[in-house]
């Protein structure tokens, strides 16, 4: 079973040289820590920076330089700042090759719900709806089940949607799954996790190929 860093590490393997990547808040943010040195990848934060770097050294933080999670950050050489309209022009115009974000629920048709729980305080969708409606390549990073132990991989979402039919791949603490033809297709097992464990934790339709290799996350 993977921890949050493990999930991030596995997702980092999906990233290709030359890609612009938008990482959501939470587990997705950790993905940046596992990109191989020398790989040409730039991180976009939708509040207005391309070429986002790591957190600043103590004392170097700048109130004017934050990411979409409102955390203080730094800028890499070649970075650029821009306004919010330009930022979402990049996203909507499909100039960002990969979006990684968290979810409360993912459905077997690729629907995602991650912004609203009826009856609870709604904070808003931020940029998530723009991101999922636009990106060609959306990976969801999340735990396979919620705190109550219920599957987050469902036949259909019960919560209000963030986007429809958009998620291509899900990486959880248990497995890597692709979404196609209305089902979750098991691709890899997390270390020490059996296909039966995964099947038991997946409420949606799960297609299990003959051979399900264990992840190699080094």
């Amino acid at each position: 079973m993977l921890d949050k860093n493990g999930i991030a590490k596995r997702i980092a393997q999906e990233v290709r040289d030359g890609w612009y990547v938008n990482l959501g808040i939470g587990i997705p943010t950790l993905v940046a820590n596992f990109i191989p040195a020398g790989m040409e990848v730039e991180f976009q934060s939708e509040n207005g920076i391309l070429g986002m770097g790591p957190f600043p050294l103590e004392g170097d933080e700048d109130a004017d330089l934050i990411n979409a999670g409102k955390q203080t950050i730094t800028a890499m050489p070649g970075a650029v700042y821009f306004d919010s309209a330009t930022s979402f022009a990049m996203i909507r115009g499909r100039h960002v090759q990969l979006t990684v974000l968290g979810a409360m629920e993912v459905a077997q048709n690729g629907d995602i719900a991650n912004w609203k729980i009826p009856g609870k305080m709604v904070k808003g969708m931020g940029g998530a709806m723009d991101l999922v409606a636009s990106a060609e390549n959306i990976i969801v990073a999340m735990m396979h089940t919620n705190r109550a132990g219920a599957s987050k991989l469902l036949p259909s979402c019960s919560l209000p949607l963030t986007g429809v039919g958009c998620v291509k791949r899900v990486v959880t603490n248990l497995a890597v799954m692709d979404i196609k033809d209305g089902a979750f297709h098991l691709v890899e097992r997390a270390p020490g996790v059996t296909v039966e464990d995964i099947a038991a934790a997946t409420a949606g339709k799960l297609v299990i190929p003959e051979n399900v290799p264990e992840m190699n996350i080094g």
Binding site: E46, N47, E61, I66, Y81, M121, M125, D130
Partner: protein, 236 residues
Amino acid sequence: MAISKTVEGPEAGCAGVQSGMTLMLGGFGLCGIPECSIAELVKLGAKDLTCISNNAGVDDFGLGLLLQKRQIRKMISSYVGENDEFERQMLSGELEVDLIPQGSLAERCRAGGAGIPAFFTPAGYGTEVAEGKEVREFDGKPHILESALTADFAFVKAWKGDSAGNLVFKATARNFNPMMAMAGKITVAEVEELVPLGALDPNEIHLPGIFVQRIFQGTEYEKRIEQRTVQTRETA
């Protein structure tokens, strides 16, 4: 000869704001917010305001200050966390909230300033954001029709500016400020540094002064950091 927009300070900047008006306020989180204008709006006490701003501040800073005084009737935002008073007013029904995807919010402000009354975007299709909106397919992909936003006043904050209203922003403090400046009937810019006319390179200006009606030199910027994340010098 350049048109002079300089006014004395936040009092002159906010003159004319009245109860019931729609205001836009730049900033993302607490980054790049018009601190001085917000302080003045609290003093002015206008009520029943509709505020268009990506966020709603925190309890004791940013738009939270207007919420505390119950000056806001409706918020139009993309994300409103980090604010207990906001939550209380929203749950009690005192405060109306219209949540909009962040990219649609940015584009709707730009459209408002650019004379584009409506445009199609894929964002929000199939969600409750699309309810009541026209849907149309382009290249086989469904999009929804979103309309322009404008405001009686837009309050923005820049790093540097000149008397012609030309603005330069710093780093990610730019965010929504340029589009909101475009969309305000009266746009009030506060700047950390008001420089002499001609001191800004015309190539480096982010927002042309034509979109700004009033500009003043702000003072005592707190520039509060919402999430101070750092690496300790030992680990780096």
